[in-house]
Symmetry: C2
Subunit: 222 residues, 2 copies
């Protein structure tokens, strides 16, 4: 990689899911300079939130001038698109489970990963940052497409676990897709609530209820 200026077309979005499918970490080739900018963007987001994110702020975090950022990215919009791609690469690989495990444990792993019972301050800010970004999907097609992909990927992960559990007799023969969508929506709603309200106890209640729901829904009747 020569470190040439990024022309800014989001032409890589398509490979994303397919590369994920074979379980590999789909690292696109980030220049060292680009990666530094991504990390500076991340820090600026944590510190100022999406509404307070500006090229100046990113440049401050980067320790360089604004113009140097425009050497690597043609516009703020392009930079944000790249950042979203970068962030999603990291996130999605962290949810993967090792197949072949006990389906109950796999489900538990996914739920705990997406909706941890206890979050330290840093994790909370990360989640808040994600939610802040996702809020922009309301008015940005590019953002919405990215988050569509994320949800699609997460739903597929849950669906596959349930499906495998059904096939090897661990679970009852339920509609795997319906269960997956339910679990995903519940998790998303609880996570959303966690960072946009102060109802601390709600997440714990949802976690309990979710376990109960999965048990009722999936455990074979004796």
């Amino acid at each position: 990689m020569t470190g040439e200026p990024n022309d800014g077309c989001a032409d890589r979005a398509d490979d994303e899911l397919t590369e994920m499918a074979d379980g590999g970490t789909s690292d696109r080739d980030w220049t060292e300079a680009e990666e530094e900018i991504m990390l500076a963007t991340y820090r600026a987001l944590l510190e100022h939130g999406y509404a307070g994110l500006s090229i100046s702020r990113i440049a401050d975090e980067l320790g360089k001038s604004k113009a140097s950022i425009y050497y690597h990215y043609d516009s703020k919009e392009v930079l944000l698109g790249a950042f979203l791609e970068y962030a999603i690469d990291q996130f999605e690989s962290s949810v993967q489970t090792e197949t072949g495990e006990d389906p109950w444990a796999e489900l538990e792993h996914v739920v705990e990963k997406l909706l941890p019972l206890r979050v330290d301050e840093e994790k909370r800010r990360v989640q808040a940052t994600v939610i802040g970004l996702r809020g922009q999907a309301v008015t940005s097609d590019a953002f919405r497409e990215q988050f569509t992909e994320i949800d699609e990927q997460l739903a597929a992960t849950i669906r596959d676990i349930v499906q495998r559990g059904i096939e090897n007799g661990t679970f009852r023969d339920v509609d795997a897709d319906r269960v997956a969508e339910h679990v995903l929506a519940t998790i998303n709603g609880a996570m959303y609530g966690r960072v946009t309200s102060d109802r601390e106890t709600a997440v714990a209640a949802v976690r309990v209820s979710l376990s109960s729901y999965l048990d009722t829904e999936l455990r074979p009747q004796s």
Copy 2:
């Protein structure tokens, strides 16, 4: 779009907000001028989204100058706080059910109200606006407090329905709070997904699954 302060689309937006104003628990007296500003803010939000909301835009919708807005509100922050209060007054009363009805019907009413199966374009924009506003709760204490109140109110509404159903023997003796939190999180998650992704079928799947969940959870075993 003409330069006119009001166009047809914006008028219908007014209806959406004002029609909810019957029987409300509005504990504040809005002057006519203030209410006009609130409605202009609402139209500007629908049209430009939260990120594109400015005093200029509101003034345009209002058909008056920026300065006239500052006569009524000392700052944009104050104005937005007032708007949130105004909008929540309207919203909360719209979810109320007539007590004494069949608990099944009451639950169905709440779910359909919060997560309608079919949404026309306008309703979608209203939901998108709410999500856009709520995203700001991540970085604004005032916003977060308001949405905490909303969720608290909604959870209480659901909890009370379940509780009454238990007491009159319609429902099984479950943990009403746990069920309420589960339902609320699922609804919020599905609504959130609806406006921040393009997974159209997901909402329908969640609705089906939610009905199934409530039936399994609440219907007395015979």
